[in-house]
Symmetry: C2
Subunit: 345 residues, 2 copies
DNA sequence: ATGAAAGCGCTAACAA
DNA sequence: TTGTTAGCGCTTTCAT
């Protein structure tokens, strides 16, 4: 119980036990240089006997590489980012890298604090999934200035000189609107998050689909909401219902928002999809709602994998060209929240 | 663009610019020993001028503390663990610690690999949220053997000499069953995960409530399922329906399982809660389903906070006594998936 | 109040 | 093939 930290055996201890010099031990462990079969056996035996674990800290000090990457995100509890994190981590650990989690809770102060810590820890690279306000640019600069590779994975706008993985949100918006139009809808409300690049791309997509179909899209049908949250979805849906523009369908900027809308519609005595169709976005919660949400599927896990890959390319110096941009395809996932509009409405 | 890693300024560079010795710079940064106001000013100015960031790696090598903790969990994409992670990280970062995320995907091999990496990285402590099979004991021992503090946060059984934070699952089972009994239910099916301590505690709680009420609880009403997943919930619900024991309510071992059951019931043409009541467990998805799930609320975020606190106590040597166990209270969260059983059924 | 110097554990250039 | 040595950036003891 009262076992105070046992000193870890060092390369020197191993050398002593094996009866060779520390550098020979180093060579065996590192697998470089020449070592006789005999030395190898003895070193290996000594390592096992002592339970030797190489000290990554000392190694990093020497090599100036920590085999550690930082992931800055709004909140891990949002499945969208958790899935990215999972992807990141899978690739990272397959390459012997560890991931430091930095869930910023969208607080500016915490974010820059995390930035400082990551810098001090001398991480080898950073993945960013943060909303695209100006502070992100400064943050990213604080990394790139020091030659640290950065990859943006969803969230912010393009940052000069930084690799980026995103999804084709505009096409997502297009697909959603198209689907509704095909079902016969003509008055489609959109819940868009104010200041969000993602939302404005979705809107662009919707506009294109509506224009292609020759359907009108008055400004009234777009409601600006404060955030990508269920609460914001509630308020947004209420506003939309009260505007009197009489929509027969709603496109939300993410599933959480759609969830809020679903609740409000239920309260209002409207049946989904009979009285009102709803389309979500991102496919995080869509399978779990009732009715199940028709939504736009985003390959978040995949995005995480690719982001890690791009980052490792830079870290291991396998790529040093211009900033790359990977745009992942999205897909319409049809479930049960869309139906043709009621006749005469 | 082609900015290859710029060398970080060191304490020596700062010393040179400030016109003092490296040790003086060290004293100013570390805030120990004596330094004249004048030196302080010059050092601070030099630091700012050079954009100096202390090197945590070098610091750790010297101090033998990395201010880093590891979190081993099954999957970040499970909100239950994501919430714990969030809590952990909040406390950790408030104390200047970073969290290394180790999402094991429940693969034994990956788990021990992560263990090795954490050991090599010389983390100061470890939080474990892993299922309680025998491998966890070995894993935990590999840490404690080296004097590394470990805290278990949900998941496994008690590990000798290791602090632990859990929730009162048994009482949760009791509350769930009691609630159903109060509504008039007498044949309550339980979906229990095979080999899970949590599930067996929930079962114990149910048994107690049923016994208190003098209600029979034949073995048939308990279905063993393979995992805490939606799929397992589906299969479990199907089995339960086919057994002919005619339950009027179901208690699931977590919300995800309940979700699966909800789907199966819907397919079977059964209305929830009119034809069948359902109670979830853990309150991760409950608010988002339709009907909204009545469930047992677990304070996961809180658990993360406390786990981090216990761990930091050990790390900073503020506590060195016997293993502690914190049992968090649970609560019944009433939503819309429970109603009295149909008359005559 | 400040500087010089040793050493944390490892790597790597050089010597033997 | 192996050993010796210097040094990564920082902390800290010991002199000054």
């Amino acid at each position: 119980m009262h076992d105070r930290p046992v000193r870890h055996p060092t390369i020197k201890d191993v050398a002593l036990v094996a009866g060779v010099s520390p550098s020979t031990v180093g060579r065996v462990i590192g697998g470089y240089g020449y070592t006789s079969a005999e030395s190898q056996q003895r070193v290996l035996a000594a390592m096992r006997q002592l339970g030797y674990e190489p000290n990554a800290v000392a190694r990093s000090l020497k090599s100036k590489r920590t085999r550690t990457i930082g992931y800055l995100l709004p909140r891990v509890t949002n499945p969208f980012f958790a899935q990215i994190a999972e992807g990141l981590q899978d690739v990272a650990s397959a390459h012997g890298y560890s991931v430091i989690l930095c869930s910023t809770d969208m607080k500016m102060e915490r974010t820059s604090e995390f930035g400082r810590v990551l810098l001090e820890h001398r991480v080898d690279g950073i993945v960013l999934s943060l909303p695209g306000d100006d502070s992100v640019f400064k943050l990213a600069a604080s990394f790139t200035d020091r030659g640290l590779p950065v990859v943006v994975c969803h969230g912010s706008r393009r940052i000069h000189g930084v690799d980026r993985v995103i999804s084709d949100h505009m096409h997502g918006g297009y697909l959603a609107a198209k689907h509704l139009i095909n079902m016969g809808h003509e008055r489609i409300g959109v819940l868009a998050v104010k200041g969000s690049t993602t939302s404005s791309l979705i809107l662009d997509g919707c506009r294109k689909a509506l224009k292609d179909a020759g359907v009108d899209f008055p400004a009234q049908l777009t409601v600006e909401i404060a955030s990508f949250s269920e609460d914001a979805g509630c308020s947004g849906a209420r506003v939309l219902l009260m505007r009197g523009c009489d929509p027969t369908a709603i496109i939300a900027s993410n599933d959480l928002i759609a969830l809020g809308a679903l609740g409000v519609l239920e309260e209002a005595g409207l049946n989904v999809p009979a009285d009102m169709s709803v389309i979500g976005f991102d496919n995080t919660f869509a399978a779990h709602t009732r009715p199940r949400l028709t939504t736009i599927g985003i390959s978040t896990y995949q995005a995480g994998l690719i982001a890690a890959q791009l980052l490792l390319d830079r870290i291991e110096d396998n790529y040093r060209g211009e900033a790359r941009e990977v745009v992942l395809p999205v897909e319409l996932v049809v479930r049960g929240s869309v139906a043709p509009p009621r006749r005469g409405s």
